[in-house]
């Protein structure tokens, strides 16, 4: 029965959020709670010679100043600090030693009775450094970029570039039409609204309850156990609500380590809240230099693709994602080659951010495809259609479903693409040049092992629980929709519990993988509930379901119904009463065994209109159409919000976002959301989201692919391509600010 799946449903947690009833990590209280304020390094590299906290300690209300000099013991092996998403290397250890590895590194925690006192005292901590030369500029180090070592071990084996095919160099050299270009994306930060925070409640007996801002409560729980050598039963991590993550909360952040250190040292409950400025050292989208070479036949078929990516990481961990692989996967092309190199800088480790690898890799590819279309004198959409592939080109396997062609057609029609005049600078509206651009988007359809518990009560209510997070995307709501349909109950009878490390297993929430995973997890567990109900129903005298097999019944409208004969039914309440059970509890794990025979991806086609003031270069994105194929859409309303948010982010990526580093100081200089610019309402006009029908019978039983991230892919390229079409000016480094149009 699917009464709720697919319908536009308002968030079930919406009321709690707007009334303040929903509590976030920094809003929990405990008796005797004290407050920590973080002191950070002002240099990018070197050693701490001396920390003088004497003035801070003299301030009334200050309890302690913790640093590497006086902290309690912490684990001394890298493995203890490796969380489930850690890349290869030696993870950062907060307050561990005197070494400074990046500017803004936490080096002390001032703990006081009030947050204001802690913050004041933190400003009085004096630090002497032994400074060493640092490098934070990717361009200064690009010649020393190191190639990735081939690895057979995940995650490196997953994120390394795919195998090459054919001979891209030869094919490129002999191609009749060629394009080569270098594309740059600067460091960008996630900037979630909610500041990172941890409230550690000292429960006595060494037990801790931790309210932490995170995308993975069990990940943080294991990490804290590892770093502080604690027993799993002694650490409970909670994150019921999150004010935006976008990947910044996949790894445990340093605030939780500092708060636990202080709680243990003082045997008191402690809260640590980062400042907005401190949010700019928690990981970032790596700066990247990408070079793309495309060779084609005059008719518009691709002969050669080479995609080289140089991406930024820290000196202590090698974070990377597969930027280059998308190029060879997406379009039909016999020869493809990939190179990925890393530049290690004196910065924190880069990390996942909204559609990591595709947001950036496909940006470069889709700008290059636009340039190739110009060289071929072909309509950009027509070029994509001529290169269309029904198979995953990297692995040469079919897709479980791919409705990209429908995205192109429906998107183009909604946009009015056929009215585009091909020449740059040929469309105008008064003082403004008008440009139309398009791009393709592609992202994974990932699924992860997950466990779900359902407790069905005899009053027809069910509690569904899983340790996953709702980072603001609407997970509570889609879980309730799926559970209501799978259990045949009204949605208001469903209670969702998540964001608690004691709940059934879930990996971190990321990669747009939770909707598909948890929904199918609910379906699997609901099967077990249904089986148990059938067992009870069969025991009833003259049971109408006496002969029904386990696959011949379904749950609908509060009843267990025979599918061959809907007139045979037993109400859930009757079955449970008769069986004298007041609750049925089932917990099942779902693993998503994949035989690897099919590719799983989501796709999109993005069309944009920009208007550029001819004299002044002021750019306005006046229209965006994003047609998305992402399997079954669970909730049109929250899904549309996800895609709209992603489109806005894509506009920001194209026009605004850039973390400004002063390389003399090795420091982020625009560490606030006034100077780090993201689009405001005035920058966002008409956004039309289309969900293309995409049945997928094999990806999972509900046909769900998951979305959110797919919405950003292609947007920056479509905007950049529209700006070229408007102005005749090709800007290959983001963000496209008006001064770059003048050059």
């Amino acid at each position: 029965m699917q009464k709720y799946i697919g319908t536009p449903t308002s968030r079930i947690d919406g009321r709690a959020k707007v009334t303040g009833e929903a509590k976030y990590a920094a809003e929990f209280n405990a008796p005797g709670l004290v407050h920590g304020s973080v002191v950070t390094s002002s240099i990018a590299k070197g050693r701490i010679v001396r920390i003088d906290a004497s003035d801070a300690l003299r301030v009334a209300g200050v309890i302690d100043v913790l640093s590497h000099e006086n902290r309690l013991p912490m684990a001394s092996t890298d493995s203890a600090y490796k969380d489930e998403t850690a890349p290869k290397g030696s993870p950062f250890r907060p307050l561990y030693e005197d070494r400074i590895m990046f500017s803004g590194q936490p080096i002390a925690l001032v703990v006081a009775e009030e947050p204001e006192i802690a913050r004041f005292a933190a400003s009085l901590v004096r630090v002497e450094y032994d400074e060493e030369a640092h490098v934070t500029d990717v361009f200064r180090r690009r010649d020393e970029a190191v190639s990735l070592e081939p690895s057979t071990k995940p995650p490196e084996s997953i994120f390394g570039p795919p195998k090459p095919r054919g001979s891209a160099e030869k094919a490129f050299a002999s191609a009749e039409v060629r394009h080569a270009g270098e594309y740059y994306v600067p460091i960008e930060h996630h900037n979630p609204m909610e500041l990172y925070a941890s409230t550690v409640v000292w429960e006595g007996d060494g037990k801790l309850t931790i309210y932490d801002k995170t995308q993975g409560v069990q990940n943080v729980q294991r990490y804290v156990c590892g770093v502080f050598d604690m027993k799993p039963d002694d650490v409970r991590v909670m994150s019921a609500y999150m004010g935006g993550g976008f990947g910044s909360g996949l790894r445990p952040q340093y605030e939780v380590v500092l708060a636990v250190l202080a709680a243990q040292a003082l045997e008191r409950s402690v809260r640590v809240v980062l400042t907005r400025q401190q949010m700019y050292v928690l990981g970032y989208r790596p700066a990247m230099i990408q070079r793309i070479e495309l060779g084609a036949r005059p008719g518009g078929t691709l002969e050669a693709i080479t995609h080289e990516a140089i991406t930024v990481t820290s000196q202590y961990e090698d974070f990377y994602r597969q930027e280059s692989g998308w190029s060879g996967l997406l379009y039909t092309c016999a020869n493809a080659k990939y190179v990925h190199k890393l530049v290690r800088l004196d910065l924190p480790t880069s990390c996942d951010m909204r559609c990591p690898s595709a947001a950036t890799g496909v940006y470069a590819l889709e700008c290059a495809m636009d340039e190739l279309a110009v060289a071929l004198k072909l309509d950009p959409l027509e070029l994509r259609l001529r290169c269309y592939s029904d198979r995953d080109q990297n692995t040469n396997r079919p897709y479980s479903s791919k409705s990209l062609r429908a995205c192109y057609h429906q998107g183009a029609e909604a946009f009015g693409w056929d009215k585009r005049s091909p020449e740059p600078r040929s469309m105008r509206d008064g003082n403004e040049l008008v440009g139309w651009g398009m791009a393709t988007g592609i992202w994974e359809a990932l699924q992860v092992p997950i466990a779900v518990r359902i407790v069905l009560s005899a009053n027809g209510h069910a509690e569904v629980s899983c340790a996953t997070s709702d980072i603001g995307t609407g997970t509570y709501t889609i879980m309730a929709q799926v559970a209501a349909d799978m259990l045949g109950l009204p949605m208001e009878n469903i209670t969702i519990k998540l964001g608690d490390s004691t709940l059934p297993q879930s990996p971190v929430e990321g990669g747009s993988w939770i909707a598909a995973s948890v929904s199918n997890g609910i379906a699997t567990t609901a099967d077990a509930i249904r089986g148990e109900l059938l067992r009870l129903a069969k025991q009833m005298p003259n049971s109408p379901l006496a002969d029904a097999g386990p696959d011949e019944v379904a749950l609908a409208d509060g009843k267990l119904v025979s599918t061959p004969d809907a007139s045979r039914a037993v109400s859930i309440v009757d079955a449970m009463r008769h069986g004298a059970v007041d609750r049925i509890e089932q917990e099942k794990s779902t693993t998503f065994a994949d035989d690897g025979s099919k590719g799983h991806n989501t796709h999109s086609a993005v069309f944009t209109e920009v208007k550029v003031d001819e004299q002044l270069g002021v750019i306005r994105v006046t229209r965006v159409v994003n047609a998305v194929a992402a399997g079954r859409i669970l909730n049109i309303k929250t899904a549309r919000s996800q895609i709209m948010g992603s489109v806005v982010w894509g506009i920001g990526m194209a026009l605004h976002e850039e973390t400004l580093l002063d390389h003399t100081f090795g420091r982020v200089m625009n560490a606030n959301i006034a100077e780090y610019q993201v689009p405001v309402n005035a920058d966002v006009h008409d956004i039309k989201v289309i969900f293309v029908d995409e049945p997928d019978a094999t990806i999972n039983r509900l046909g769900i692919k998951g979305l959110g991230e797919i919405g950003i892919v292609g947007v920056a390229a479509a905007v950049a391509n529209a700006i070229y079409h408007a102005t005749g000016k090709r800007v290959r480094d983001l963000p496209i600010t008006l001064d770059k149009l003048q050059r």
Binding site: E116, D613, L616, V618, R667, V680, D683, L738, D739, Q742
Partner: protein, 338 residues
């Protein structure tokens, strides 16, 4: 942020008395900039003297046909005040080009004059900055200076004044009324803000123990031929790369009086008597506008990341004068540039 004392001034005389008695004290009105600076430890006042309840919140006509704006009139109230909307629409437009609605609701008229530069280095106490710490050096000259000044810079400082409202006030020849221990005085707007020279720590010629009580506008408001054109990196809630307040008094096709003030290019709203003089008596046409624009920028000097501002400013001036002459001022809600 440091611990500080808080006191409320009972009247203007009390405010002046209190600040004269405590060299570490600062006045606070809306606090939209001061609180930020305190959080960053850039401003470390020992005491805040709250003047927000003083009776300086009237907009009234003066005997000579002008308008007197109390120092505590909120930016929003001022922008939408009938006297301003009808007689000085350029001022209202400039105010609405700045900040956000929430900030404009809090920000006061006097405070707007005293807001400090948004130079990244001024805000970050881990870096040298002559404005914050005289003698420590200017990090912006060889650093991130895309937002910085191209006119009137010194070797000590290349910061810009961030206000939009002040650009319009400069163009309107406003006057600033202040009161201090020695009594009242009036400062012409051109003399209110300073160039950085070798004392960039001083933004204005206001003495530390003086209080702004009002801003006075002369009778001429340029209500017909004016504009405020602001060019920035996003379409709202961003400081100007370049902004232009342009006002003309026309007699037929000829320019009788011209005012051009630039924002985002200098340590103060930038005016140029020669360029304005060259427009007077001339026909309002693109060639004359371009000539004036070139004159205004004749001494402009760019740095590594901001040379684009020189040409951008020229183009913006021409466009602004065109808008003013046509009587089609830039809308602050529709972001399409007219």
């Amino acid at each position: 942020m440091i611990n500080f004392e808080y006191a409320r001034a009972s009247d203007v005389a009390d405010a002046v008395r209190q600040i004269a008695g405590d060299p570490g004290a600062k006045f606070i009105a809306g606090g939209t900039n001061l609180i930020d600076l305190m959080k960053e430890d850039v401003e470390r006042p020992s005491r805040l003297i709250d003047i927000s309840r003083l009776p300086l919140n009237k907009v009234e006509e003066t005997a000579d046909g002008g308008v007197r704006i109390g120092a505590l009139v909120p930016n929003s109230d001022l922008a939408y005040h009938p006297l301003i909307e009808q007689r000085y629409p350029m001022l209202g437009s400039a105010i609405l080009a700045g900040a956000s609605q929430q900030l404009r609701n809090m920000a006061s008229t006097g405070g707007n004059l005293l807001q400090r530069t948004r130079c990244y280095y001024f805000y970050d106490t881990a870096t040298p900055c002559n404005k914050r710490e005289p003698g420590s050096g200017c990090s912006a000259i060889n650093g991130l200076n895309r937002m910085h000044a191209i006119l009137g810079t010194s070797e000590a400082c290349i910061a810009t004044h961030p206000s939009d409202m002040c650009v319009a006030l400069a163009a309107l020849d406003a006057k600033v009324q202040v009161i201090g221990p020695a009594g009242e005085r009036t400062i012409s707007f051109a003399d209110f803000h300073r160039l950085p020279w070798d004392t960039p720590q001083r933004d204005t010629n206001l003495e530390p123990n003086e209080l702004i009580t009002a801003v006075e506008l002369p009778a001429q408001g340029f209500r017909t031929n004016y504009t405020y054109l602001k060019i920035r990196d996003r379409l709202s809630y961003a400081f100007a790369l370049v902004s232009v307040a342009a006002a003309l008094e026309l007699e037929g096709a000829r320019i009788k009086e011209a005012r051009v003030a630039l924002g985002g290019v200098a340590h103060k709203p930038w005016r140029d008597a020669l360029a304005e003089g060259a427009l007077r008596g001339q026909e309002a046409n693109p060639a004359n506008f371009r000539r004036a624009a070139h004159m205004l920028l004749r001494d402009a000097k760019g740095f590594a990341h901001n040379t684009f501002k020189i040409d951008l400013a020229r183009r913006a001036i021409v466009r602004a004068l065109t808008q003013a002459a046509r009587g089609t001022p830039q809308s602050q809600s529709n972001k399409k540039i007219r």
